[in-house]
């Protein structure tokens, strides 16, 4: 791990704010779903916040990311605003996608978030293409492609790592290895324990990071970003993480033991990071309290905004197919 990268106090505060925002956003989603305000398959990011936050903080605002079916965290970490996000999840005209995309297609192209995708692993080629563009246009932009452990068994993973390697693209592949693909444990579907080892098949740099350690993720990603920007090619980073929630709201989680889940949740990086900031005298307990209240208020406002926004009129349903 590159030690030279310095993390300022402000950045640490920012890490906390973003992780807390994601956590609270997802809790709100969990609340609105059973009410029918949010519909359809919706996947929350609770437990994995540090990955998106650490990784996206290593990017510039005009760099790109391509997300997964579990995209809210990535969207927030890449600078997404809560109002159009929540409005999108409620299917409203004021949402990022006018209510046409919803949770699984949340996108905020203006801040380089090129979209979530409902088809597992299908974002990897799109990300590879964004990196291809940046190299072609010599605009020094870097792309992060997020995907899960399950996705790493899909053919596009292989094809794109090969493409990125032969073309030396400015891209970082971040595998969020949370150990499961819906109900299927990685150990029965994935032939290697460490997905990072697959980088060897493409002569690619790789790293394994603790997916609960936002600072480590930030540092390792920053290093990969620097190398990508310098034309030194792609990196595969595997973040070992854990999904605290079921794959869907109400998931009986027959595929993992209660004790496993409890023990994982008991090591909550968000609480730990809060304590760490206090211990390092970066924020006092009361400052933390006010940061939290501010975020909660913003979230309430966003929810209100989303609820009050109109639906796009049905007469416009067939707009936006062609430009």
């Amino acid at each position: 791990m590159p030690e030279k990268i310095n993390i300022t106090k402000d950045l640490k505060v920012d890490f906390f704010k973003q992780m807390y925002t994601i956590r609270k956003f997802e809790e709100k989603v969990k609340e609105l779903l059973p009410l029918g305000l949010i519909r359809g398959a919706t996947h929350v990011y609770i437990g994995e916040e540090a990955v998106a936050v650490g990784a996206c903080s290593a990017l510039n605002s005009d760099d790109y990311i391509v997300s997964t079916h579990r995209g809210h965290g990535h969207c927030i970490a890449k600078g997404g605003s809560l109002k159009p996000m929540m409005a999108e999840l409620l299917g409203k005209e004021t949402g990022y996608c006018k209510g046409k995309g919803g949770s699984m297609h949340i996108a905020n192209v203006d801040c380089g978030m090129l979209g979530a995708s409902g088809v597992v692993a299908s974002g990897i080629p799109i990300a590879t293409g964004a990196a291809f563009s940046s190299k072609f246009l010599e605009n020094k932009k870097v792309t992060i492609s997020f995907f899960g452990d399950g996705a790493s068994n899909n053919g596009t993973f292989h094809e794109c790592l090969n493409l990125a390697s032969i073309w030396k693209l400015p891209i970082i592949f971040i595998c969020e290895n949370n150990g499961y693909a819906i109900t299927v444990p990685a150990k029965i579907s994935t032939s290697v324990k460490d997905i990072a080892i697959r980088a060897k098949g493409y002569d690619m740099a790789s790293a394994i990071v603790n997916g609960r350690d936002v600072e480590e993720i930030y540092k390792v990603t920053s290093d990969a970003v620097r190398r990508a920007r310098d034309g030194k090619g792609p990196t595969l980073i595997e973040a070992k993480t854990y999904r605290f929630e079921g794959h869907w709201i109400g998931d009986p989680q027959v595929y993992r033991g209660k004790s496993e889940v409890e023990s994982e949740i008991s090591r909550d990086h968000l609480l730990d990071y809060e304590k760490k900031l206090v211990k390092e005298n970066i924020l006092s307990v009361s400052e933390i309290g006010s940061v939290k209240r501010k975020i909660e208020a913003e979230l309430e406002e966003a929810t209100q905004f989303a609820k009050e926004s109109p639906f796009l009129d049905a007469s416009k349903v067939a707009d936006d197919i062609f430009s």
Binding site: H105, G118, V120, A151, I182
Partner: protein, 325 residues
Amino acid sequence: MKELTYAEAINEALDEEMARDDKVILMGEDVGLYGGVWRTSVGLQQKYGIKRVIDTPISENSFVGCAIGAAITGLRPIVEIMYIDFITLALDQIINQAAKLRYMFGGKVKVPIVIKTTAGAGKGNAAHHSQSLESLFCHIPGLKVVMPSTPSDAKGLLKSAIKEDNPVIFIEHKLLYPKKEILTEEVIPLGKAKIVRGGTDITLVATSNMLYKAMDAADILKKDFNISCEIIDPRTLSPIDFEMIIGSVKKTNNALIVHESNKKAGIGTYIASIVTENAFDWLDSPVNVIGGLDCPIPYSYVLEDAVIPSQDKIINKVKEILEKG
């Protein structure tokens, strides 16, 4: 006589066929321990073991291909593709291998494989989890395509599909899983349509979940406008039971086809066209087709409702057809 849901009926068909023939295996994502996200394989891994009910990695093209390879070497695999939208990843193996192997090899192999999947909108799952892609498969020689609308048909047709020595695409509809019925327990042969309701003024051909919209529309057409609809569910879309459909149209002299997938280059206009070629002189009006709006499936329910053929659309089209005719 027992009442089962569509999902339970499918589960029962799988169970009975696995009990009958130990070469029948089931593979797909989350079909094992969990019993499938649509709950159609609940209990099967527990009953038949992990050797016969297999949770796969997210490798659609390859586990379908693997099932094809297993099919030509002695097994009878059933593969689940969780949503038909993801079958796009497996189309090379389905179109170029499953559909063609027997032919390319001059009849030297059999390909007894069933690919079961689910289609349709209505759950707010947006563009990647809501499509109706049955027409793609109907276009490809070498595949059979089944789309059951009722629990009894689902069970009866799935049992036939599993017994079939050729590749079958078996398409469920995600809104139908909770639908209940007292099972008729027939084995239903592939390729046979069903007259769901007799009538005299117009033939409505409706597939999958659209059957119910057609029935509701027919109720209102009868009650409010005294229009009598004959309703046919083709059940198998490839091969299609033209005999029954054309027979009905020759009687009613009018026809409307309703399906959820897009109209353009779809199965509906194919039916319309063959009916027209064969019953032109009997037609009082052009055979019409209502399909889903020519648009990806949007997320918000306001928009989603606008793309799926509605009862009102059917009612209005029937009235328009009969006024013109």
